[in-house]
Symmetry: C2
Subunit: 357 residues, 2 copies
């Protein structure tokens, strides 16, 4: 065996000998595993992600033994367009997976990145997304530990698709389970809903819509961290309200916990521009996707504490308590309208907003 210093020296030597990516567009050869792949991976991706684990370029990344049980989650991103106000597919791919770990009560540790690129994609576009991923991962304190790149023929993808899979360490403070939700628990939404979905719709430009709204895409771990501190086991469960929106998340929890939920619709924060766009398009903001909003279920005695904790974080200042868990009707969500009536709020049916994430 050779010494760790010698390994480091060789890695350093190899770092200096990195091939450069000179092509202006992605070709099939970039996905073939040979010289062009090496230029793409070692000339573009590895330097941007810049960490010792990835530098070794083994078939797998090796990470130290975690300090507790681990959480694992995966998400593919096919959003169109890939750049939009407030973010892009690169930052979204990092936040989306980090958030699935966070709402499961796990501190995000490492992500894998699987790229499926369309032949002909400008390498400058790819570079921007790689840099967006690196920046988002850096800000979230999570390592981009391993990756893979495939190229498919022109027309067999739409610029690029990204899969991120994340692992995190389950936090000692977390006792989260949808099945632990109880009658009387309060429901909190961490900020205005629908910003991401409406931003994407406007960015597509095929609707005659304008509006000053940006995606809510954000890392939710800092919010989860303060929530766990504030509530401990009184925090019953959380979900991030992505595809299907807040309505679908509420239905999932109602089904899993076999409880009812009454939602005070007037209390749900919605920006006027989002509300207006939804009116125009016949959409309900409750079904529009978010990428940096969570729904939390907390014991009644902890609700105000939880709200204060959420509001102490930058993306949580407009959070609100929006509902309550009831015994009836089990598995169902009722909306209490501003006129005092009730309506059944079902899961999303169909897909009014395809490829939002």
């Amino acid at each position: 065996m050779i010494s760790e210093e010698s390994v480091e020296a060789r890695i350093e030597q190899r770092r200096r000998a990195r091939p450069r990516l000179k092509d202006e567009r992605v070709t099939m050869a970039h996905g073939a595993g040979g010289k062009a792949s090496r230029a793409l991976v070692e000339g573009l991706i590895v330097p941007a992600f810049d960490n010792a684990v990835l530098d070794r370029l083994g078939d797998a990344a090796v990470l130290p033994r975690p300090s507790g049980p681990i959480a694992m989650t995966t998400d593919s991103f096919v959003v169109r367009p890939i750049r939009f106000p407030g973010g892009s597919i690169g930052s979204l791919a990092v936040h989306g997976t980090v958030n699935d770990l966070a709402v499961s009560g796990a501190r995000p540790q490492a992500l894998s990145v699987g790229l499926i690129l369309e032949e002909g994609l400008e390498t400058s576009v790819l570079r921007d997304e790689i840099e967006a991923m690196a920046a988002a991962a850096d800000a979230a304190g999570v390592m981009l530990a391993c990756g893979d790149t495939k190229v498919v023929e022109r027309g067999k993808a739409d610029q690029m698709y990204v899969n991120t899979t994340g692992i995190g360490v389950v936090d000692d403070r977390a006792r989260l389970d949808p099945a632990s939700v109880q009658v009387g628990d309060r429901v909190i939404v961490s900020g205005p809903i629908g910003d991401h979905g409406i931003t994407i719709l406007i960015a597509r430009g095929d609707l005659d819509l304008q509006g000053d709204v940006v995606s809510d895409t954000a890392d939710l771990w800092p919010m989860v961290d303060v929530l766990l501190d504030a509530c401990g086991p009184e925090l019953r469960c959380m979900r991030d309200a992505t595809r299907g929106g807040v309505a679908t998340v509420l239905n999932e929890i109602a089904l899993a916990a076999e409880i009812g939920i009454v939602l005070d619709e007037a209390a749900v924060p919605v920006r006027p521009v989002v509300y207006g766009a939804c009116e125009l398009l016949g959409l309900d903001p409750l079904y529009v996707a978010n990428e940096g909003r969570l729904v939390a279920f907390v014991a009644p005695g902890a609700a105000e504490r939880a709200l204060a904790a959420i509001m102490s974080t930058p993306s949580g200042i407009e959070a609100a308590i929006v509902g309550e868990v009831t015994a009836d009707p089990p598995g169902r969500v009722l909306g209490r309208t501003s006129f005092g009536g009730h309506r059944m709020i079902d899961m999303l049916v169909g897909d009014p907003l395809p490829r939002i994430c």
Copy 2:
């Protein structure tokens, strides 16, 4: 908090209430996160993968604390056609990622599955692949712990793309590092090369080619397991020779270890049908992809032991010692031809066989 029994009872109740997937084709709604997504996930995927971790349907799977450092790897699969003699995209997606862990000296534990489906895909085709994944994972003793499904419009994918990301526990016996390869080490190939690539080419049917060859797609962990037992630290490093073939793997190791490799070309096992197809198409079998073959570097004194260990496993009976590590030329691979001459064997350039995996 509620008891574990009560959680189990609710999971069982929910299992009985699973929605059924009745659609004959995949629609955009199956990727939208609402009711149709639930029917796809709970009606098709969860029952096929059938394990307690997935049954909970949280945002992340929770796995016990691993017994050592963990290895993580990711791979996307875009093979065309998705079914071929000897396997399909489903089994390939399991083997590919399991093998990246195995050759890193890590016992595979859990996989995530990220599906990108083309609108209009027959659900029977999807069902077959889900079942192929479940069967391959079951045979490999690895859990399909979490998943994600996205749908893109017709023409924006090619039936289906699959990402699998795997985690494994680094085996105590493994001391693997390309940088530990030393002059005099022997190079072993675990079986005939090129079977997978040529099988895919023939299966595409757009060449006037026939031949009795099946993909070598297989789980390599059993082979790695016996190799680690036989060699311990005398096993320097391994790679599975997928995209770019054996030639590219040898070049990667030569570069990483700053050593030369002399390959005895006549010793490399190649089936006559693969050799014939390569002749016809102007391909070199050394560059053709494999999905169940590994290249191992072992200390000279352990070479015969390593070969015997590999040959004791079902997919290793045609293994061979094919080369030796030299001081010169560093970073290069030389082929010793059957006529006694030498040729430089470079990395793969270009992509003669796109979408082979």
